[in-house]
Every structure is written in C-alpha cells, then in structure tokens.
C-alpha cells in the first residue's frame, strides 16, 4: 500500500514504512522527478506555469502563491495515498506563510480523505520511541490485512 508520511521528508517514517513492507509517499520522490527532468525551465526545481495550476485545485488565487506551488508537489502524493502516518507538530514544521499554511492544508486534506490514518507525536524518550514504533508497526500490519 502507498502510505503518505508527514513530515513529508522524514527519515524515520520513510524508513519504517519501507521496513514494514509498504511504499512511503515522500516529497523526495517528487523533487527527484523535477530535478531529473532534462532542460530545467526554472532551476533549482522545475516548477513550470503548469504546476501552480495543479495547486489551484486546493487553494484559491488569493492564497499565498507559495502554497499553490507547494501543493503542486504534494498533489500526486495526496491523490495516490491509500493510508497516512502523521506526526503532530514536528519541530521543523514552522516557517513562512507558504510553508505553514501548506502544512495545515496537507493535514486537513489527509484527514478529509477518510483513509486509514495514524497520528503520533515524535518520541523524546526510549519508552515513547517503543510506543511510537509499536503503533506504526501495528498500523502497517493492519493495512496488510486490509489489502488481503
């Protein structure tokens, strides 16, 4: 199953999802597709005028343009997601209006999609980490059973 992860560039979530036999949907793959395109229109990322149009599916014109640009990257991930793992309030998810609003919008869209969803907090102790990993493994196992 394709599992959307948030924070979308998380090493731990990406590794755990892959380890437990699913495909992580992470932003790195979308960035990779854009930087590997031959003949970049607008380096460093090949964001062409087509991309913000994809973003318009989610956010109106008056919304900060950064949101639409970012949503263009997230659109394929959200539409492909069969399940999601979200870490609440990650330390690194602060930022400008574009980043912050995009993060809020992504969380909202994932919840509104009504797919199997696991919400957690980043662990700060060993005991928390055991619970964190256990919950993820149980969640991913339940997805495998659903698949059957």
């Amino acid at each position: 199953m394709k599992v959307f992860i948030y924070p979308s560039n998380s090493l731990i979530l990406s590794d755990l999802v892959e380890r437990f036999g699913h495909e992580p949907l992470a932003i790195m793959s979308e960035i990779g597709k854009r930087v590997r395109t031959q003949g970049l229109d607008s380096p460093p990322l090949n964001i062409t005028p087509e991309e913000p149009k994809l973003g318009l599916k989610y956010a109106a014109v008056e919304v900060p343009s950064g949101v639409r640009g970012r949503m263009a990257l997230f659109d394929p991930l959200i539409s492909k997601a069969d399940a999601a793992i979200i870490v609440r309030d990650p330390v690194t998810s602060f930022g400008c209006m574009g980043c912050a609003r995009t993060n809020e919008l992504i969380n909202f869209l994932i919840r509104a999609k009504k797919i199997p969803l696991l919400e957690l907090d980043y662990p700060s102790t060993e005991e928390d980490a055991k619970e964190f990993v256990f919950k993820i493994s149980e969640f991913l196992k339940s997805l495998k059973e659903e698949e059957k």
């Binding site: 924070p7 998380s10 090493l11 755990l16 930087v35 460093p44 060993e126 990993v133």
Partner: protein, 142 residues
Amino acid sequence: MDPITKMVVINSMKVLPSDVVIKLYGSNADVMIKETCFGIIVSGERSVVEPLLSSIRRMDPYGIFIKERGLAPGEPYRCRATRRGGARPGFHTLESEDKILPYIASALKALDKGEVPKQKQKKKKLDVEKLKQIIKEAEVSQ
C-alpha cells in the same frame, strides 16, 4: 531508465560509513557513492540501488536507516560548495531526527523481541467546574 538517489544514515556502534562504502565498492555495482558525515549517498538505477541497499541494511538492521533523496550527490543547484555553504534543504529535519535514532533503534530491537510497550495514561485536562470549585474554596479560605 529510472534513476534514484538514496540516503543511508548510519547510527551504529558496529558499522562505520567507510565499512559500508567498502562493501558497496566490493559489490561492483554501477552506482555513484558519496561518503558523508551522516552516512552515505548512493545514486544509480532503481533496479540496482534498491537490492544493493537492502543487503547493506543487513549489516546492522537497527543502526542503518534509509530514505530517498531528491537530488543526486553534488547537484550544482543544491550543493553547498556552489551555494557557498549554509544548511542544505532537508538538513534541519535530518538533524532533529538523527537525535532520536538511538531510541528508534532500541525500539526496533524491542519490537523484534516481541515486547509490547505499556500504553501511557494521558493526563486529562482540568474540568471547568472543578476549577470553579477550587477558586471558590480559595476565596472562602481567604
């Protein structure tokens, strides 16, 4: 042609990035390898890189963490050498997660041993009525 770049973060007591690099060179696979401070970056065809890295993971399953990376090693648009230093995109997430990797490693070990962690009891928020009662009692005592 389906090129892919993967980042291998090593947080292990047994394996060093240089050990992994030697093993990768020994495999004779057609990949580009870069040793970094956190581990290594491997770039090549998906069909080559994925099986290669799953064999690398076996060197220390609890100390090696792998994720995909959008940019290839030395990408001029993002390389710090051409951008005159500064943190590269994604560095801060990696830095914050790197601190908790030892916890995740021990949690994975515990999971393999079949340990079931105790569910923590969540602290309930204070009820409004109870707060009002506390205020009243404090006022009376004054």
